[in-house]
Amino acid sequence: MTIEEVDVTIIGAGAAGLSAAGEAARMGARVVLVDDNQHPGGQYFRQPSPQNYKCKSLVSEKDRHRFVQLLKGIDTPLVKYCPGTTVWDIHDQFTIGLADGERSRRIRSAAIVISAGARDHVYPFPGWTLPGVITAGGSQNLIKGMGIAPAAPVVVAGNGPLLLVAAANLVSVGVEVAAVVEASNRPWNIVRHAGKLIHGGSNLGLAIKYLKILYKSKIPFLRGYGVIAAYGSECLSAVDVAPIIRNGKFERSQARRITAKTMVTGMGLTPSLELPRLLGLKETSMPLRGGPNIITNEKMMSSVFGVFVAGDGSSIGGVELSLVEGRIAGINAAIHAGIGASESMQLSLTRDLSAHRRLCKFRSGLERVFMNNVDWYDLLTPETIICRCEDVTWGKLHKCKEKGLITPLQLKAATRIGMGRCQGRNCLGTLAALTSHEGDDPTKEQEMPRTRPPARPILLSELLHEQLPPPELPDDPHLPRQQD
């Protein structure tokens, strides 16, 4: 038996992945499109699934149409779409390991596009593990995907544009929202950066639509505030909000309590970097863009030859930028696989590149509107959970520090932080920040726990049913080498 070989493998069937697959196929490339989800669309184009779906009004006609076009793009024999399939390994940059619930298999391709999307970035605070505290993305999926409203009253609190979208959608479906709490407080930046924001195109119309909904609803909108703690026994019952003062700390003396059964929260998005990290793609820190971002060139190619990264999985930019980046990556991945680009493809690439420049300007304007200097770690108490899987508290980490265990690796070994089922997705960002936050050895970059396969939990039975002997192990500089 041989390993399946194709021209381009695309990981993730969200906005970026679908448009990458469509463009690569339009070039004539043989494409495998792998998606962990059961249905295409990722988070933004998530399609309603229940039979009794009630929230149809939330999806605009334009998006419905765009999604149909994206699906048409992959509806060709050139694209093999694999839903419900987890990429658990990228063995070398051209061979990936897939598991579909039944068995694991491998695919080799000339180019890879990683469009794995992003997730909500949530800083820990007292009570954030209570049932009823959910992310903005989780709220969106619940109402947009399932047609189900979270328990009311809802407090929407955090930072960033997605939060306002989530709040407006909750209002649109008739959920009682008690307050919208936004950490940033620089409304003048809308004017100051109007020159950048003007490049937003259709984003502008949407922003106005959402703001109108919130304005009309007369919901208290607290700017320059944050939730400092969530309370409840079995589930959420109330939150405390407090103003944020100049130095980014919270003014606890002015805290007030708001009753809430659900808190929708998020402090922006952060790219899903597990697969890029398996390949060791070069990163850069972009504090306004979810932290670590993947460095790409104008072809969307990463630091590893033949590996392209597009959409929010590389750097947070939203759906419009993801669609454009996906197209750019798809075309360039096909070219990388040795397929010539026709004149019309070259032309559409040029158009996409100029759209990309425009949207990047808009993004940088938007980032400045929501900019803040909040010290979210000011909220931590000894009891605050940092690692949700292993219940590692801030106090426990602090005790370790007193014993001289200060690096992320030492703390992991001592407390199991980052070793649970989420594989550090909830806590490693915090761990990285907290270990540098404390000023431990600022001259040296902290060595973080390495990402290892499986990139997501898979079943042993999937590995047992893999029909191939695994390829030979590459030289791993981190493993002890046998002497000749």
């Binding site: 699934s49 909500d120 959910i134 989780g138 189900i148 949700r388 292993e390 649970g420 989420c422």
Partner: protein, 89 residues
Amino acid sequence: MNANGQLNFRFDGQEIIGYAGESIAAALIASGISATRLSATGMPRGYFCGMGVCWECVVRINGINTARACRQVVEDGMIVETVNAAEKL
């Protein structure tokens, strides 16, 4: 399952109404249930990220498998139970 796609399943012995295509987490939230897991130190947890990343909504299905309630679709007659992370397997 009836023509509207309505079906029944059990969560910790309680009869819950769901609809075909709904995730377990969505059906439970619609019934007012938000806690579906006990953490390593016995704290209640539930639906958090809603996109399969955080594993907080893990439940036990039909006595054997554990699955993320936000991604697993409800089935008629399904037995769903709270997972207690402190319990030894």
